[in-house]
Symmetry: C2
Subunit: 157 residues, 2 copies
DNA sequence: GTATCTGCAAACCATTTGCTTTCAC
DNA sequence: GTGAAAGCAAATGGTTTGCAGATAC
């Protein structure tokens, strides 16, 4: 259990460094703020909001601005290293997902938590593809996203 | 073709009057603004934003306020006569869907158009339910939303 | 040295709220 | 007449923008 936790943590650490490496290779500068944002974000599987990240970084960077957080998240999204999720209600703002692998989401209506669900791929299943072709002729599907809405365990299932 | 168009149009008209009837039965007042909003909304299968509706109603009701549009849409949603759509990273505010039947959506990445796709129900398929139970223990699924992202026919598929 | 980034503050947009007036019932 | 609804305007909260100064390269 100890070993397992350590391993998972290490995997996230590797992921963070990988993201930084990709940014660097793409010609982006390695500023302390950017490095801190990417490291914190890549290790957080809880789909943080910009607010979340900002507040957790403020102790280390009291002068940091929201724009810097948004800029970095935008850059990551444009490079395909993260996704922007707007799955909840209008309140609370967008959530950001550092997981680039194909997966779906379960959203808790009560607390707004987002859980990752595995998906073999983001291509539509056979039946889905046929249905789309029939009802939306000419529509080319690039990816499918499933959102499971309900109530999570901690909010009393 | 002429007949078909007329029929489809008539079905939407009926749907509008049905919505108004339901509102009336639930004790809501039939104000001119509310009637106009519901009629315009029920006939629009293009998933309009609040902005869209507001601007198209302004000529007839120059004094109408945004709050009235939002109030009416909220009321419809609470009565289960419409749905509020926040499909992923779409900028530009929520879209509203007057179609109360279970269905999913195809979103065009190029022009932002939203197409309805039929669904037998919004409950998860057998395999989906199992997958959620396994990966998110204790999560109770209330409804599933499938979003098919791609390019629509008019945007050159 | 220079192009890029950061910090800041103001702008922006969708949405909500409080309060007064109006109107459907 | 009465209570619900509309209008209005201002607040809200997340996100974006423009620019001046700082800094990674």
């Amino acid at each position: 259990m100890k070993a397992r936790t350590t391993t998972a943590r290490e995997a996230l650490d590797r992921r963070a460094e990988e993201m930084l490496h990709d940014l660097k290779c793409a010609g982006f500068k390695m500023t302390p703020q950017r490095m801190a944002i990417v490291r914190l974000f890549a290790r957080d599987l809880g789909h943080p909001t910009a607010q979340d990240l900002f507040e957790r970084l403020r102790p280390a960077f009291p002068s940091m601005s929201f724009a810097t957080v948004y800029n970095t998240l935008d850059t990551l999204a444009q490079m395909g290293l993260s996704r922007t999720l707007r799955l909840g209600d209008a309140k609370g703002g967008a959530r950001f997902d550092p997981n680039p692998d194909p997966h779906h989401h379960a959203v808790c209506d009560a607390c707004g938590a987002i859980l990752d669900l595995p998906a073999p791929s983001l291509l539509p299943a056979k039946g889905e593809a046929l249905m789309v072709r029939e009802r939306a002729p000419g529509f080319t599907v690039r990816a499918v996203e499933h959102v499971y809405r309900g109530v999570c365990a901690s909010c009393h299932g």
